[in-house]
Amino acid sequence: MGKVPPALRATPFLLSTLLRNPSPALPDHQQPETPTPLSKPHHFPKKIPKKKSPKSLTTAIENPIPSPSITFNSPNLSDAKSLFNSIITSTTIPFDLKFPNSILQSFASISSSIDDSISLLRHMIKTCPPFCPDRSTYHVLLSQSCKSPNPTLSSVRKTLNLMVTDGFHPDKVTTDIAVRTLCNADRIDDAVELVKEFCLKHSPPDTYTYNLLIKHLCRTRTLSTVNNFITEMRESFEIKPDLVSYTILIDNVCNRKNLREATRLLELLTEDGFKPDRYVYNTIMKGYCMLSQGSEVLWVYKKMKEDGVEPDMVTYNTLIFGLSKSGRVKEARKFLGVMAETGHFPDEVTYTSLMNGMCREGNAFGAVQLLEEMEAKGCTPNSCTYNTLLHGLCKAKLLEKAIELYGVMKEGDMKLETGSYGTFLRLLCRHGRIAEAYEVFDYAVESKSLKDVAAYSTLESTLKWLKKTKEQGLAI
């Protein structure tokens, strides 16, 4: 879905780190093992940019070019020009196209105005004839103009016009960079406006860009805004949502617990000629889980089977979670066997969901037994498992078991969750183990499970509650 991997998301650009070798006097033939950068044409891959952040497009220099180490410290244009001049005159090495681009990128990252960057580009073309700007040069400028706090799109349009007059017609990559940068700068409305402009004048967005925009719209705008956008794109520019778009939309409405809309989208999707895949079904199933509607969860599973969609690990985990949550632990347990038959082995998530269901029924002993069974099968419980169990044991008022479990958690440096911490404190206080409650409070603070404030206020209110109950002579 064109998601930017975290490793690429932040590519801080520092010219000084790229130009590691600060010895301009070294002639080229003394370094035979260093491949000349010129031998590698700076091509612009068509599809890969979807996976990269716009920033990293032009900054990847694998071979450090021997050159004086520089960084732009001031956003001042004339400083930048003279710095560029000094680099050009002082280096004797063959010229690489990537190099001016990265200088421009470096300046653009601190420059306050797009005009300054454009002038620098003009200056670079004039003073250094072998340099001939390519598409990525303009993309550097474009991403700067999209980042600028200027509330209008004027600087973006200016850059695009510049690009067209210089003979580079904006393509899909251009659209993607503009939209992505605008979305990351929280300028969704501008992004929508720009996409429409792109459709009319330049290059319509591809599915990745389109889906990215939909995702951002879903996150921050109302359902009707998203739907209007989709309708407009479909009617004016014949750009239709694909299966991924529908999955994003369904996920969005499911998170808002609007299952009716999800069902409508499912119909729309079929009308558009798509067949729901397991991601769509998993998402809908998750929606029903949120509402604790066990029978609907089961219905989705059956529908998947009917449609010949093979359930995966996520499906089974969601199914078991949903059934457990809606109090149908017995049925959920049966699916452990079904899972194993289809080659999916229950993991800690599966077991934790089941334990959760058992604890809800008050069957904390059963949950502890399940923990043993799980460990016997070689599945390691995680901190969520332990928290679920601790919560369940406390709810079932099994003090000794809970203390024992807490000991295990403490040994494993596991964090306490708010819920299990609170119930555990209450149980301890109820049994008059105030000092132990204080010790748990200390652990929660030390292990940074909770913020100090939250941990303390829980302790305080628990003690207050205890006093009140005692005063009223109620059984504790």
Partner: protein
């Protein structure tokens, strides 16, 4: 698993949060104990509790009870013994609600 109301902690309530973490000018008795002129209620509790732990003031026979030393007595109403359970309440006495 957790009920909805459990998740809503104190951090969502700005007034209660402020009551707990805002710095307050201390009365002279407390100032001597804490060693600074301003502290929050949470900070004060943490100070007192770590003082108790550091000086082993918990009764060895009943950990729920604190045997106050001279210094502690001066800030906890002069009581020779306090229950751990009432510690937050006792400390709260030094932090009266701001008069409106």
């Amino acid at each position: 698993m957790l009920p909805q109301r459990m998740k809503k902690g104190i951090t969502d309530n700005p007034k209660k949060l402020a009551n707990l973490i805002d710095l307050v000018n201390l009365p002279s008795t407390l100032r001597e104990f804490v060693g600074q002129s301003q502290i929050s209620r949470l900070g004060c509790f943490m100070r007192v509790w770590s003082y108790i732990k550091a000086n082993n003031l918990q009764d060895p026979n009943n950990k729920n009870v604190v045997n106050c030393d001279e210094k502690l007595r001066s800030i906890l109403l002069g009581k020779p013994q306090v229950e751990l359970a009432e510690l937050p309440t006792l400390i709260k006495l030094h932090f009266p609600k701001a008069a409106k």
